[in-house]
Amino acid sequence: MPTEITNQDFENIPVGQGKKTTFVFAGIFGSLLVLLLAAAIFLSFQQGQPIKKIETKPTPTPTPEFKEEIIPPSPYATDAAILKLENEIKSLDQQIISADLKEASLNPPVLEMKIKFEK
């Protein structure tokens, strides 16, 4: 025999248990929302960051030894006359490089010679 549910039965359900269930659902829903938000923010940060390229470093190889070409000196490498000429050439080189071939300070003066008294 079916039992009849009356308004009175609903009224008999304890009030505290219903509220508790609502709080649990709201809590789960809220924490899920926070998690989703956190995931969205994390993903957006990830997209903004430049993709790091992994640079491939060259395989280390031994540096080749540069040997200075040493030209064997002639019997005249220490000749006094040659060394004197060498110094003179160096000095002349400096003089030639630093020579002033413009003499800009001696450019003719700018003068106004045409005078007239007419409007």
């Binding site: 064997p72 040659i82 002349l92 413009k102 010679m113 005078i115």
Partner: protein
Amino acid sequence: MKKLLPFLLILLSLSIRPLRGIPSEYHYPLSIPLARAQEFNFNRAYSDYLFNYNQYRQSYNEYIAAKEAYLSYQTLASKNLALEKTSKMLKDEDGVIRTYLTALRMKLAETTGISNDEQNILYLKLDSEVGWYGKHQASLSSAATLEDLVDSAKKMADKYQTTEILIYQALGTILSGKEINFRDQLNNKIQQFKEKIGEIRQRGDKETALAERWLLEAENRLTRSQEKQFAAQQILAKMKSSDSNKNQSYNKAQFAIEESHQYLKEANSYLKEVIREIKSAN
């Protein structure tokens, strides 16, 4: 004391004789001590020129102001002021040219490499020009009207056409003198190298063919340098007083001298190669 008198007189006459090499146009007034006058060199002449040039620029501005006032008001007072300022400006202009030419003369005197003949010819020309501007400067004092001053300025402008040629030729000679001096030095070094290489060849303990080739190249560069310098001198010699832009011709000549200088640099670098070759074993 009587014995010493002729000796003192000779000394006195020697001390007041004119300075050698500098014509009377350039002499300082007698009030300036002789020691100071003897110090007259390019730097001194150049300072004089700069001083005169600054003075001229000032008097030119005053002339412009006086001229504007006269043209605006046409009064007797403004006319007299214009006369005074124009005369002053023209005198200063003469002063600028005279001191500039003097500085140029001193620079020529201090530049090595210029032949005596060339130097003397330019001295004569410069002295003549300085004399002309001196007379012109003196003549301005007798100008009574503005028209007189306008005529006087025209004479100076006409004269300056020929003076400008002399200025550029003197400047070209100074630059050429420098080049000749360097070339002479390089030629001298080439001769010394030739002698040394001759000795080495005779001894036979070192191969000299390469060093001799470098020497030959250095000589070739000197010849080319000389050619460029002649080209520059030709440009300056062809300058005419009617040429409207003498500065352009001078710039061309200057460029040719720079090219000539480049060959000298190369010649010197070849001499360095000669040294390197001699100092290293075969």
